[in-house]
Subunit: 456 residues, 2 copies
């Protein structure tokens, strides 16, 4: 008996409508990337295992999909090791390649491998799928696209300014107005930790602070106490919990907290530069907001930290994020290359646009015109017209069989084709085309020239 | 010590220039697909192993990349089987998923799985990577893109007519003029085998005939004799070796060979229908040619067989192929769904376009304008202009640091940026922009409006 077909859990088939909507997002982002001077690269779907392993922590290592070696793969496993029947120990002997887990590590590998061909600063974007052996759940997949833009080889804060504008440009182009671009700086977090005497507890401190939105001030303080941050230190934090007002006035308040920390002051200086530039340049539809609780992948970022929230009317986590990191390529032996980058959460952006009904109608239309098939002679006559239509950019096709009229009409309706064309004996004699609007039922007789000019 | 980075053999990194050129091919093909009424689908990169295994023959099964199960994968292997240390026997116990080997089997799986949502005839296209554990060699990769268009659920010969026009439309749009679209029909090959009394040796017969171009008439006859085809049968083939003249006159000669085979006559009838339609419709730059030696994947095809050759001045194998198959979805339990489809050989098309210098220059250009950075004030002034340029569709950027002029000019040259803009004190005072042509060295002072209208 034939198998009942299915796909692996956590993966998806995309229907024509879904592909069209996804491509609309990809193309819109891509266009803005290119206006901003970013260039595309692509890396292989699988990398050598040692390129990926050890770069994402133990949990990451477990979630990387490993590819089984071809041929007699057990041949390479010595009998002693084999006899232990230890999955962990045997993996590296029977698998040398693994599927990409994100785009960042392959990008770092690319930069190091191609460093002599690359002109720095190098602005690249990359839109490709990644794979993670995560437990599948709502909105979390084992195969999904990432979409990253990064600049490497430049310490300039203009890059941060550009990325904020780029976020604004992309979401404006997607007609998703009212997103909030939150910004913070690792140096500010370090500065605060220093001021409250918790420099050695930076991670614990930021993990707790990051929860302010969710659990509130009191619980955050409790957690900090539990983690060993002194009561006196926590008291110094008080102004943080009540930061308010404009970006600028918040910065003023932060300054008073951080006046004894060089690193903190540096962070403030960076924020001020960025805020001043963005104020002067203006954003089209997004808002820039200082959020001192924002930490994201703190170990990773060394300067600016970004996160984008969807407009308030939508319940959705962040739809983008990024920041500056100072040693991306060090893991592959190229030191002192500063990078800064952002990413877009494509699956979530898709959900937001769908919920707010922001996909343009034209995105999912397929063909404009279906020619009804009345037989071989009529079919050939129709295909000649269709050829001219296509040469003028009009999507058109002939129903493939001289089936019953009703069946052909049904086909047009099921595919949401807005117009059909009827070509019978009479039309062929007079070289005319009867165009029927499938919604209104209205019919009109046109010459080929008229038909083309109506749709091109 | 840091690892020296590399990628697995048979895979490729694509540089910005290569991605741009590949995207040009993808986009051009995609545009024609949509004009012809094809809709995109996408399927997961990996399928359940039992979806793929057994569909491509033993050799195919070996070349499929298998994904190792996550977690303690050896736990599921019983000790008795484990003790045999037999790679083949253990594979299905430690691997349940595998990377896509082509787009055809996943498409068949998709059609069966989604049959209730699909409106037939279903015209789909798919452009995605596939993976094969083949021995890497020149022009053969372990990861490469396939690009397929198929119609399922229609027996109409108009589909064959449409596919020939589609090939012509795509290669014309790519400016690759002079390709030859070769056509044959499985029924003609079966008919000939029947006439010469070798119906049971159809494969041997066609494999030998397929070599006519390479080894010549005598050797082909020798091989047929060796394979047990009778001398008398081979004599009846004589007219085949001297087939000449127009498509139509070759058909007349074929008819005389095949007048005793019903199947053969049916094949001729199909060819004649297609040839007549194409003659009436005309092709833009391609030529349709009958090639009775064309067999391709004969077991697979049941009607028309297509293959496209690059223009004669280029040494290259086929750059496309396809045909009609009558039971694509049967393997997954959906019977009697006829399909016909074509594919494009993307890597070879890339090589041909490169060799003939057919990529438009605009494909690989990145930004139009680099603003030289003279400091923070000038930078901000420049970014305001850049914002306006981008809103008008002009790719522009600011050099991120106020580095030495020479360094910034070098950067523009290395990235092949055609124009730079100089904004210093004077320009800021007069709200003007000095535009410098990097090739001619010519300089001109413009207002922002003039600058925009020059590049938009």
């Amino acid at each position: 008996m034939a198998q009942k077909p299915s796909i692996p859990k956590g993966t998806r088939d995309f229907t024509p409508e879904q592909v069209a909507k996804r491509n609309y997002i990809f193309n819109t982002i891509q266009k803005q990337f290119e206006l901003y001077g970013f260039q595309p690269i692509e890396t292989p779907s699988f990398e050598n295992s040692d390129t990926l392993m050890g770069k994402y922590g133990d949990e990451g290592d477990r979630l990387i999909f490993k590819i089984l070696n071809s041929g007699d793969f057990l041949n390479k496993v010595d009998d002693k090791l084999y006899s232990k029947k230890d999955s962990n120990a045997i993996t590296s002997k029977i698998s040398e390649k693994a599927l990409r887990y994100d785009l960042t590590v392959p990008f770092a590998r690319y930069v190091v491998q191609h460093q002599n061909e690359i002109e720095f600063p190098f602005k690249r974007y990359q839109i490709q799928p990644v794979w993670r052996a995560d437990r599948p759940q709502k909105g979390r997949f084992r195969e999904f696209y990432q979409c990253d833009a990064d600049v490497v080889g430049s310490n300039s804060l203009w890059q941060e300014v550009e990325f904020i504008q780029l976020y604004d440009a992309v979401f404006t182009a997607l007609k998703l107005e009212g997103v909030t671009i939150k910004i913070n700086n690792r140096k500010i977090l370090s500065g605060i930790a220093e001021v409250i005497g918790a420099s050695d507890k930076l991670i614990d401190f930021t993990v707790a602070l990051d929860k302010l939105d969710k659990i509130g001030e009191e619980k955050v303080k409790e957690e900090m106490l539990e983690k060993g941050i002194s009561k006196k230190g926590i008291e110094k934090l008080q102004p943080l919990f009540t930061l308010s007002g404009s970006f600028n006035s918040q910065v003023v308040q932060l300054k008073s907290i951080l006046n004894s920390s060089e690193e903190g002051k540096k962070g403030i200086e960076e924020l001020e530069f960025i805020d001043k530039a963005i104020s002067e340049l203006g954003l089209q539809t997004a808002t820039l907001k200082l959020d001192v609780t924002l930490a994201r992948g703190l170990n990773y970022y060394t300067g600016a930290i970004f996160e984008v929230s969807a407009p308030e009317q939508v319940q959705m986590g962040s739809i983008g994020g990024g920041g500056r990191y100072d040693d991306l390529t060090g893991i592959f032996g190229l030191k002192d290359v500063s990078g800064v980058g952002i990413s877009f959460g494509l699956d979530r952006i898709y959900l937001v646009l769908d919920e707010l009904n922001l996909f343009p109608e034209t995105v999912t239309k397929n063909i404009d015109l279906l020619f009804i098939n009345f037989g071989d002679k009529e079919g050939l006559f129709s295909l000649k017209a269709i050829k001219q239509l296509r040469l003028n950019g009009v999507n058109a096709e002939l129903y493939p069989d001289a089936a019953k009229m009703k069946k052909q009409m049904n086909h047009a309706n099921k595919r949401n084709i807005p117009f059909i064309v009827l070509v019978g004996e009479k039309e062929m004699e007079t070289e005319s085309y009867t165009l029927k609007n499938m919604v209104s039922g209205e019919q009109v007789k046109l010459s080929l020239t008229e038909l083309i000019s109506k749709f091109e």
